[in-house]
């Protein structure tokens, strides 16, 4: 039995490796997509106007503002005269962000207290806003450090941000882990959903069915290679993410990979289920997209799951992508607490078990 499964696994891997189309679609294109999407997000920052509303007249504020004026990102600086101008400036997109320095800014700093600078960002251009926020933070940090060095002052400037239209803005890096989760799913789906349908279409499937291979052996022999191929593609994406996007992995790599195996088991299970239903590759692809597009949309990739109606949240919980996005973000960006990690592992394991069993069952039925 193990030899038969081994034979099938070797065959699947060889076939994928020798077919230029599979090689491209599965191994190379997802990492490229990751890069392209990520760069598309990053390069949105252009033509940025900074509006400054300075109520303070001290040196400290002038110095801070001059640093902003000297920064390359801001193509144009406009000065506002009244607080009432802030809203229309953002509304009419005359500026992407407004920096407001309060009237007691210099005074408080001189007294050794902490002072606040308010940044108001246009949340409609959320990616740009995220990036600008990052820049602004760095400018303020540098200003603080240098000021502390110079004066040994104890009270730094605190940046208080307000992002209008999108209050809980997350950092840029959050886009990459979510994108990663989706792309890993795409690879897993493609490999598994096509595998049985392709053999059926080419007529090789009957050759397998008349061999001593049992249905569940065929299923294992189909899932394992799909899982391995998707893991390879995922590893390539991780490396690229670190090298080209400077997105580091803060959490445990072991936890990430373990999560990915469970995740992919669920993905491959669903893929094989769709594949068992389909008679041709075309049907498999259509079936796959009918599932995948809504699954990605409700997964929290585009909009937070918390904002969805309850029934949709229920559906989202039944989608492995939803859970892996949380794990991916958690492990990628920080040391996630274990309870959070496992609270998303078990639903995926459940989906994996259910879908693989359903695929085996369907497969038995379809084979007569």
């Amino acid at each position: 039995m193990w030899q038969r499964i081994y034979a099938l696994i070797v065959k699947e891997l060889l076939a994928s490796a020798r077919d230029p189309q599979t090689r491209w679609v599965v191994l190379f294109s997802p990492p490229f997509l990751l890069l392209i999407y990520a760069f598309a997000i990053t390069q949105e920052v252009s033509d940025v106007t900074l509006a400054v509303y300075n109520q303070d007249h001290g040196n400290a504020s002038v110095e801070l503002i001059s640093r902003f004026e000297g920064a390359e990102v801001f193509d144009q600086i406009i000065h506002l005269r009244a607080g009432a101008d802030i809203a229309p400036t953002i509304d009419a997109r005359r500026a992407t962000l407004v920096m407001r320095v309060g009237e007691d800014f210099s005074r408080r700093l001189e007294r050794g207290e902490s002072a606040e600078v308010q940044l108001i960002l246009d949340g409609r251009r959320s990616n740009t806003a995220q990036i600008l926020l990052g820049y602004s933070s760095r400018i303020v940090e540098t200003y603080n450090r240098e000021r502390l060095d110079r004066l040994r002052a104890t009270a730094p400037v605190r940046l208080v941000q307000r992002t209008w239209f999108n209050p809980n803005l997350e950092p840029l890096w959050s886009a990459v882990p979510a994108l990663f989760a989706v792309l890993v799913a795409v690879v897993g789906f493609m490999v598994s959903a096509l595998s049985i349908a392709r053999e059926r279409e080419l007529g090789t499937f009957e050759q397998l069915l008349v061999s001593p291979l049992r249905p569940f052996e065929i299923l294992i022999g189909k899932s394992v290679p799909a899982l391995l191929i998707a893991l390879t593609s995922a590893s390539a994406m991780l490396v690229l993410g670190m090298l080209f996007l400077n997105v580091p992995i803060r959490g445990s790599l072991a936890l990430l990979f373990f999560g990915m195996v469970v995740y992919l088991a669920a993905i491959v299970g669903i893929g094989l289920f769709i594949s068992s239903l389909a008679k041709t590759q075309q049907q498999a692809i259509i079936g796959l997209f009918m599932y995948m597009v809504p699954a990605v949309l409700i997964s929290g990739y585009a909009t937070p799951v918390e904002n969805m109606p309850d029934w949709l949240q229920g559906l989202a919980a039944a989608t492995p992508i939803t859970h892996f996005i949380v794990i991916s973000k958690a492990v990628y960006l920080r040391e996630a607490p274990l309870w959070l990690y496992f609270s998303h592992i078990w639903p995926m394991a459940l989906i994996a078990a259910a879908s693989l069993l359903a695929a085996t069952w369907l497969f038995r039925r379809r084979t007569g």
């Binding site: 030899q3 038969r4 065959k11 076939a15 077919d19 007529g203 050759q207 008349v210 001593p212 007569g368």
Partner: protein
Amino acid sequence: MTALVTIEGLTKRFPKQAEPALRSVSTQIRSGHIVGLVGPDGSGKTTFLRLIAGLLRPDEGGIDVGGFDPVANAKEVRARIAYMPQRFGLYEDLSVEENLNLYADLRGLVGSARKATFERLLDFTGLAPFTGRLAGALSGGMKQKLGLACALVVTPELLLLDEPSVGVDPISRRELWRMVSRLTDEGITVVWATAYLDEAEKCETVLVLSEGDLIFDGRPTDLAARVAGRVFLIEGIEGDRRYVLNRARQHEAVMDGTIQASHVRLLLNENARALSLASIGAGDEARLKPVAPRFEDAFIDLIGGGFRAESPFAGGSQRSHDIAIAVEARGLTRMFGSFTAASEISFDVRRGEVFGLIGPNGAGKSTTFKMLSGLLKPTSGEARIAGVDLRTAASEARARLGYMAQKFSLYGDLSTMQNLRFFARVYGLTGARQRLMIERMIDSFALTDKLNENSAQLPLGFKQRLSLACAVMHEPDVLFLDEPTSGVDPRTRREFWAHINAMVTNGVTVIVTTHFLDEAEYCDRAALIYRGQMIALGTPAELKAQAASSTMPNPTFEDAFIALVEKNEAETSP
């Protein structure tokens, strides 16, 4: 008669292929003839037709269709020809009438002319009662007739048919032939491409292609006349006719040998004077009877003889003697919804027997075949392989059978060696035995040069060999062959059957489905399946005898098949 098509020095190469698909072919096609275009798959038939239709550009040489060049004067040529490709573009989700309408729209046929044409075509093809039926729900033969009707929406001067009879049962094949002959009476010139040599025999002229070369251009009777007096039947064979054939094939006086029911058909060498029947072990009662040559005999002669070597499977290990009945079918019935695809089919296949399942497409032979090989669960009844029930011990039963599908169904992306290794492992061959068996298959089928080639890129003959190698490597007790040699050239078919016969001598049981009735001659016994029922069972000689009548004292297998089906229809219809 004038030439409608003149072809001069036509050569066509395809990129990435070492050999040209057609090599300086020159010929003329006369008006009002049926011209048979004959050759195995991959010999250049389709390329030839597509060049005439102007769908491909020739590399060298020229074509003239009624004074026009198919590429430069595409419009004029297209107005004069109709082309029916192998898989005609029928829309399976449209009805018969909608398909006709579509082609009429495309050809700009409107108004009363359209109505008259449709009436004529529907009457001509016998499709009138089925105008509302979806094209996808038609049988293979009816699809081809509809394809022909669509191609004939505007009456052409030249009709190009690419293997119209592939996948069509013998009855529909004859009807199709009759329809096309009627077209020539109306003055239409027809080019009929086919791999069936018996069809070629009926054409007025034939063009025989082999690997891109035109090796014969003339009347089929002229070709057959070349081998007159050299074709014989050995009648009254004592013992195993397969053994006699095997000895005869390797005899220096013999060019070719095949099994014809209980006899062996031989084509003798030009210089051969006599053949001692004792030297090939035919027994004392055997005698050599001269028979009229067929086109196929002459064709084999033309390509230098059939398969003459000893099959490497000869003298191989004998299969276990412990079973007398290798395959049992007990009341096999399969329903698809309310449709009974196979009903109460029962028979025993003895060990070492070649058993044929014969019938038109959609008659239930494939359903029966699938139930026997475990691909389909019977609704009721049971199938046993070597005494093992397929339902309870499917994996064990499957380990004892080998299966070769009609279509090439190995992994095209894998190399020859990887395919061999995969099937060896799946069938539980390990270690030294695995190496030994793979080695043996490579030697037996001369695969050494092709080991690292992707199997999809292999020439058809090698694909055939590799498929058989993968099916028999684990030395199965029972071998299932589904239309094993359709589209294969006659020589490869002979080689194939030489291997099968050698294995059968070793005790392997073979179950074969076919609608290629020459192949049925190789069977020891055959079951005729029609409309889900087994309507006849017996040796080829018995089946022929059942169908013999005063008007047809010596029916061929195909005649017998048609007669038995018609008899059954007459009995069952009120």
